[in-house]
């Protein structure tokens, strides 16, 4: 094709330098890239806002460091040749419920966006229902539609292991996986896929889909929170809602956590949030019962030990 006689807005004058449009053109030091992309701010936020998750944070720092160094290499012309110079950034998050997989996915999208690896930085969060169709010929357009919506951003597939149902050989999940793999490979520059799910189920999923496993560069495991970390998370959540623990309520909540963690279906931070929501309900009922009292600011923002100790877990026999 002949080159046009007019200039195209948004493209660099040299047609052979698409990297020039990236945010960190011409930077020579790590600091310059960081300053231009503001990725440091997101990473600090990640450190500050998310409690625990040390291995996850370390891995994200590693990935961010690689991307920054890659950017510097590209500026000096050391980019890998060919069309797919960008490193593969597809990830898999495994961990128990409530360990922050979705939250971290949102942050990752922002980091990748600041570094210019995804163009728009939005997150499209889907589950099996959004990808797999109900009859023959329904799956491919449905999956493609989701993929097209996610392009320029991050596709977050929650509970990805449901895509593959070995017990039903006529299940359409396999078709969705094949299209997913094809786009993950061919449109690597256009979108980043993050799979999330429980550790053991994801392991069996990858065992039956080796192609998927090998196309995902980063397998990140989210550890469970310790009780101390959960307490910190609870404090954070209350702070965000303008509540606080009253006298003795902190200890009561620590006891609550001790007991709740022994019980089945404990979902880490999500259980903490639910427990706090229930405590707020009880606090509201307590204040509601006393109709003639003038309620001060402290009354309205404080959770008392009684609100927490009324929980079901304290009534259950400690067996």
């Amino acid at each position: 094709m002949s080159t046009p006689l007019y200039s195209i807005p948004g493209t660099a004058p040299a047609a052979s330098a698409p990297e020039a449009a990236a945010p960190a053109a011409g930077a020579r030091t790590v600091n310059e890239v960081l300053a231009k992309s503001q990725v440091e701010a997101v990473m600090d936020e990640l450190d500050r806002d998310l409690i625990g998750l040390a291995p996850v944070k370390q891995r994200i720092r590693d990935i961010a460091a690689l991307l920054v160094i890659d950017k510097l290499r590209a500026n000096l012309g050391f980019a890998a040749d060919g069309k797919h110079s960008a490193p593969s950034l597809h990830m898999c998050f495994t961990g128990n419920p409530g360990t922050g997989k979705t939250t971290v996915a949102l942050r990752i999208a922002e980091i990748l966006h600041r570094l210019g690896y995804v163009r728009k930085g939005h997150v499209v969060s889907v589950t099996r229902d959004d990808l797999v169709g109900q009859y023959i010929g329904h799956t491919a357009p449905k999956t493609k539609e989701v993929l097209k919506r996610a392009m320029g951003g991050v596709l977050f597939i929650d509970e990805a292991y449901y895509l593959y149902r070995p017990e039903n050989e006529r299940d359409y999940g396999q078709e969705a996986i094949e299209i997913l793999l094809q786009v993950m490979e061919n449109n690597r520059d256009d979108l980043v896929v993050i799979l999330a799910g429980y550790k053991d189920r994801m392991d069996t999923f990858f065992k039956s889909n080796p192609g998927m496993s090998s196309r995902i560069a980063h397998h990140i495991d989210f550890p469970d929170y310790s009780s101390g970390e959960l307490l910190q998370i609870a404090e954070r959540m209350l702070q965000a809602q303008h509540y606080r623990f009253g006298e003795g309520a902190h200890e009561a909540f620590a006891q609550y956590l001790q007991r709740r963690m022994q019980q089945p279906h404990f979902a880490n931070a999500r259980s903490v949030r639910n427990a706090l929501d229930r405590a707020r309900l009880r606090a509201a009922s307590r204040l509601f019962a006393d109709r003639d009292r003038v309620l001060t600011e402290a009354d309205l923002t404080t959770l008392m030990p009684a609100d927490i100790l009324a929980s079901r877990v304290f009534q259950a026999p400690a067996s």
Binding site: M1, S2, P4, I8, P9, G10, T11, R119, K120, H122, P141, K144, E145, L147, K148, R149, M151, G152, G153, N187, D190, L191
Partner: protein, 146 residues
């Protein structure tokens, strides 16, 4: 006298310009997406100016954020119909507009035979004119294969 000396079909936007490159198409798509339009891909091998409704290639694409999705669909359509007319259309769903806001041709057959003007004499020696596309002399699907 030739009114359209390049012999190219001129329908929609940019049709008097040289063909848009993929980068230029991408920029137009980005512009439409920023405006909140939904893009769709259509094709035909009957370029008559009154042929308004072309065949849809897949569904219209709503809720896209990036041009890559539309470009992927366009690449698929070009692969399937390399010798058809392909156009991109942007649908504006704003209440009160609810119609196509942009439309331009992104793929053309290698050679476009153009149109003839047929004259038909009726009662009272009145003349009725008819625009006739030479391509449609052949059956559908074979029009631009040669």
């Amino acid at each position: 006298m030739m009114t359209n000396p390049t012999g190219r079909v001129t329908q929609g936007q940019f049709s008097f310009l040289p063909d848009l490159t993929d980068d230029e198409i991408r920029l137009q798509i980005e512009y439409g997406l920023r405006k909140g339009y939904a893009w769709s891909v259509e094709y035909t091998d009957d370029p008559h100016p009154r042929n308004t409704y072309w065949e849809m290639f897949g569904m219209p694409m709503f809720d896209l954020k990036d041009a890559a999705g539309v470009m992927m669909e366009l690449a698929g359509c070009r692969k399937t119909f390399p010798n058809h007319y392909i156009r991109l259309m942007a649908f504006d769903s704003t209440r009160g507009v609810e119609s196509i806001a942009m439309s331009f041709i992104v793929n053309r057959p290698k050679n476009e035979p153009g149109f003839g003007l047929a004259r038909h004499e009726v009662e009272g020696r009145c003349i009725q004119y008819k625009v006739h596309s030479y391509a449609t002399d052949k059956p559908e699907g074979e029009r631009y294969s040669g």
